[in-house]
């Protein structure tokens, strides 16, 4: 239906999104060019290593955007988004495992290696179908979405909010981590899934595939961003903000708050899943530690750093923190946790609106402090 487009196209008409997409595509294109054209060893050459690294950053960025959607605009602080990320990742990982086929060390045509040496005789039912790309890719969306749907339905229906919600999301991801650590689960236990060979027929161990994945991630991030932007600039976005700030009031206006929450939560979970799915082939392994609550918290901190309720802020935050990690682990291995921890404290205490907040301050100093910077301008709203 025609109207359904407008909410998706609307963001393309607003300047901030245009700038964001412009920068993103320019960066991706530049990296691609420098990687392809510049000769190995040239000062401007971008090594495959850097490309993959950036690819990883972009995955994290997408995850951060997903978190910002629920936290920034819906006021739901999810400490369990790592779970959706990881599940998406596992779905992709299972596909990649099946792609190994008989090239595993035991040469078993069907069973992944870890199943062979823990002598499983046949493939468990939930591994069925993952040899088909389309099925796996649907699962990448469906599995996290379904989990979010069930969990969210229970939580929002009984109006679990605020801290309580945060804590049980934490419980959720923690429980999942323990579960996936168990070898009986059939997900490779602590070793997780690894030793991937190829994806859609492309050899994962070639630079060209890596570049392809990097570009794909860039596109995914762009799409994800536009979807989120579309939601937050739509009336639904404003309803979300309403739920965030005055839940009861919103109910009395006739909105089913729990459904709004559920909808946005599920969308966000799916985005997280996609991020995970793109992450796995690039880093080459998925293991239960992605379920670790600490990881989820860290993601939230990226968003806080970049600036809550401004989607591009989440992207900035994710890339900055992870870049910082890369640098610190190299420069001062023993001290990088200090730096990271310090960063978290300083940001939350002195930069409540994050980096994006700084930018906005510069733009319009007259901006009222009560007003949330994320608030879309009416002309956008009514365009």
């Amino acid at each position: 239906m025609p109207t359904s487009q407008t909410w998706l196209l609307r963001p393309l008409q607003e300047r901030s999104t245009q700038i964001f997409l412009g920068v993103l595509f320019a960066a991706v294109a530049l990296v691609t060019l420098l990687h392809l054209i510049m000769p190995e060893g040239h000062a401007l050459h971008v090594s495959a290593y850097t490309v993959t690294l950036l690819g990883k950053y972009l995955c994290y960025a997408l995850l951060a955007v997903a978190v910002d959607l629920v936290w920034g605009y819906l006021g739901i602080l999810s400490l369990g988004h790592g779970a959706f990320f990881a599940i998406g990742g596992y779905a992709m990982g299972m596909y990649l495992m099946r792609q190994i086929g008989d090239r595993g060390v035991y040469g078993d045509p069907v069973l992944p290696d870890f199943m062979v040496f823990l002598n499983w005789d046949s493939l468990p039912w939930y591994w069925q179908g993952f040899d088909m790309a389309w099925f796996a890719f649907i699962m990448v969306l469906l599995a996290p979405g379904l989990l979010a749907l069930v969990f969210g339905f229970l939580a929002f229906r009984s109006r679990v909010t605020g801290v309580y919600l945060s804590i049980i999301t934490q419980a959720l991801t923690f429980a999942l981590m323990l579960a996936f650590f168990r070898n009986e689960m059939g997900f490779g236990g602590n070793n997780g899934l690894t030793d991937f060979r190829d994806i859609l027929g492309f050899n994962l161990r070639t630079d060209s595939t890596r570049l392809g994945l990097f570009i794909a991630t860039g596109i995914a991030l762009a799409i994800g961003y536009v979807i989120c932007r579309g939601i937050v600039t739509s009336k639904l976005g404003r309803v979300s903000v309403a739920c965030r700030d005055a839940e009861a009031r919103t109910r009395f206006l006739g909105y089913r708050v729990e459904r709004v929450q559920l909808f946005v939560f599920v969308v966000s979970a799916m985005l997280a899943g996609v991020a995970g799915a793109l992450y796995v082939p690039q880093v080459g392994i998925i293991n239960p530690s992605e379920f670790s609550p600490l990881f989820s918290i860290e993601v939230v901190v990226w968003v806080a750093l970049g600036g809550r309720a401004t989607l591009y802020g989440a992207v900035i935050g994710a890339i900055l923190v992870n870049y910082a990690k890369t640098v610190f682990t190299g420069v001062m291995p023993d001290a990088w946790l200090f730096a990271l921890g310090g960063l978290f404290v300083l940001v939350t205490v002195f930069l409540p609106k994050g980096i994006a907040g700084l930018l906005q301050k510069r733009q319009k100093p007259d901006e009222d402090s009560n007003a949330d910077p994320s608030k879309p301008k009416p002309q956008e709203a009514t365009a």
Partner: protein
């Protein structure tokens, strides 16, 4: 079997043994004093005995031990102890057998086992350990136990009797039965009877076996069950049947004990959870601060215990007791520091406090890693806390856990007192109910905050002190407990200490009940899922907070 050959002659004249054991200390001292002279006479028999022991191959070792005991030498026991504790070495070039007093580091302190004279330090390169392994040690224990049975100290006797269980064989039956003729303290007698019975059941003739079974029927001791089990699968059907009956009746008794045991395990796990969570219940419940660094405060408490033990070497008990106030203080101060530096800037932004304190926790962890060490620190358990309280052969309650349970309850009671009876408690409750109102009534909310947070953190420190007796003291200590703590608090209902207590204990018990058949991992997962579902039913926990404060 062969090992006890030597006991036969020796025990025919049990007197010698007795004499050997009972030599009054004074006399031994005298001997020791007179030793220098003694050792000058070039042939100290001990020298030969020890060399013989050192040279002995695993086949000859029994003979060597036998020789030492037979010698009736007053120093024999010390030698055997030294041997058992792996403290006998030979100097490589001289071949002299020495006792190692201190075997830490590159240079060891050695002494002459004959004269007891300290020979100073020697590089361990120069020393060659006299080998001993579990098998030999097991036999040695039997020998020493046999000696100890003649002690006058009932405790020593009891230990010895305990040690005899399952170690009886042909050579010691006679002396044991002899021993039974003397009047012995009840427990000692029972043990000896049982141990003899076990032997009879294996070796004795039909009617001896029958007797044995009747003796063992009551016993809950594992060795007794072991013997019966063997008999039950033995080739004599009649005997097997009777053994089976005995086992059944024992099993009946065991059921109760096992249930009690599980309950105890549940409580002890629960009390650990309570300890870990209760501090959080205060900071989280009262101030609405989500303190992710809570785990690290626990860790600080644990490290304080370690530090104390470093300060007071050799007195782990005293150190532990002192570290209760110390741990509280350290953690409390750290907590206050956090409150002043970070949390006070985040008033009314609970979720932000979560992020900031998460940063703090990272810093604290790394701080410990760099300042102290990434390795775990070893905290010794004082004598009076190790071992277990034996209710009967099947049910024994581990002491350290019992202390922890008690400690948890004391801490809880203390907090309750503070909250109910003191001015602080009153103010705290006032602030919890309605901050603005409280302030307008002249309560200095900031001061209350500081004290509250200090209190909560201090309690975390106490938890650390307790945990140091149960688990690792290392940089990751905190991480392992933070999530559980939050679960307990939320499950119990924020801001309600009773809720926390109940939640902790019940979660602990549930976990322990599930564990046997679900396995530890699954049990934990189940508990988590249970919490999630429970929160759906009662979004505000077991004991929801009342009044407007809860609406927020």
């Amino acid at each position: 079997m062969g090992i006890f050959r030597w006991l036969t002659p020796l025990c025919l004249n049990a007197l010698c043994l007795k004499a050997l054991y009972l030599k009054p200390l004074g006399l031994v001292l005298l001997l020791v004093l007179s030793l220098p002279a003694h050792s000058q006479t070039e042939a100290d028999p001990g020298q030969a005995l020890l060399t013989n022991l050192a040279d002995a191959s695993s086949r000859e070792i029994d003979a060597a031990i036998e020789a030492i005991v037979d010698s009736g030498d007053p120093r024999a026991r010390d030698w055997l102890d030294a041997f058992g504790n792996n403290r006998l070495s030979r100097i490589k070039d001289t071949g002299q057998v020495v006792e190692v007093l201190r075997n830490v580091g590159r240079n060891w302190t050695i002494a002459d086992p004959l004269t007891g004279e300290n020979l100073g330090e020697m590089s361990r390169r120069e020393l060659d350990r006299v080998n001993i392994n579990n098998a030999i040690r097991g036999k040695l224990e039997g020998v020493l136990a046999m000696l100890d049975l003649y002690s006058d100290d009932p405790e020593v006797q009891e230990k010895a009797a305990e040690a005899m269980m399952g170690k009886v064989n042909a050579s010691v039956v006679k002396p044991l039965t002899k021993l039974l003729e003397r009047d012995l303290p009840g427990p000692v007698r029972n043990r000896i009877e049982e141990s003899v019975a076990i032997y009879q059941l294996e070796q004795g003739d039909a009617e001896a076996q029958a007797q044995a079974i009747t003796v063992l029927t009551g016993s809950l001791h594992s060795n007794a069950r072991a013997a019966l089990n063997n008999a039950a699968v033995g080739d004599d059907p009649a005997l097997a049947a009777r053994a089976q009956e005995a086992l059944v009746s024992i099993e009946q008794k065991l059921k109760m004990n096992r249930a009690a045991e599980t309950l105890y395990f549940g409580l002890s796990l629960g009390s650990v959870l309570v300890l870990a969570a209760i501090g959080l219940a205060i900071t989280f419940g009262v101030m609405g601060v989500i303190n992710m660094a809570h785990g690290e405060l626990i860790m600080l408490g644990a490290y304080t215990t370690w530090g104390m033990q470093q300060l007071l070497p050799g007195q782990p008990g005293l150190a532990l007791i002192l570290s209760i106030p110390a741990g509280f203080l350290v953690a409390a101060l750290a907590g206050i520091a956090i409150e002043r530096s970070v949390i006070q800037h985040l008033k009314g932004r609970p979720l932000e406090t979560l992020l900031a304190t998460f940063g703090v926790s990272l810093i604290l962890q790394q701080l410990v890693r760099t300042v102290i060490s990434p390795l775990n620190r070893s905290v010794t358990t004082p004598e009076w806390m190790s071992g277990s309280l034996v209710i009967n052969g099947a049910l024994s309650l581990t002491l350290n856990r019992m202390y922890v349970i008690g400690f948890a309850l004391v801490v809880f009671a203390g907090l309750m007192l503070i909250m109910r009876k003191t001015r602080l408690g009153l103010e705290v409750r006032a602030v919890t109910q309605n901050r603005a109102m409280a302030r307008s009534m002249g309560i200095r909310a900031t001061r209350v905050d500081i004290l509250t947070f200090g209190l909560g953190s201090g309690v975390a420190g106490l938890a650390g002190v307790a945990l140091s007796q149960i688990t690792n003291v290392g940089p990751n200590l905190g991480q392992n407990y933070i999530i559980d703590s939050f679960m307990v608090v939320v499950f119990g209902g924020v801001g309600n200490l009773w809720g926390t207590l109940l939640a902790g204990l019940s979660l602990g018990t549930i976990n322990q009940i599930l564990e046997p058949w679900a396995g530890s991992v699954l049990a934990k997962i189940m508990v988590l899922v249970l919490i999630i579902l429970f929160i759906q039913k009662r979004p505000k926990g077991l004991f929801p907070q009342k009044g407007r404060a809860a609406e927020g």
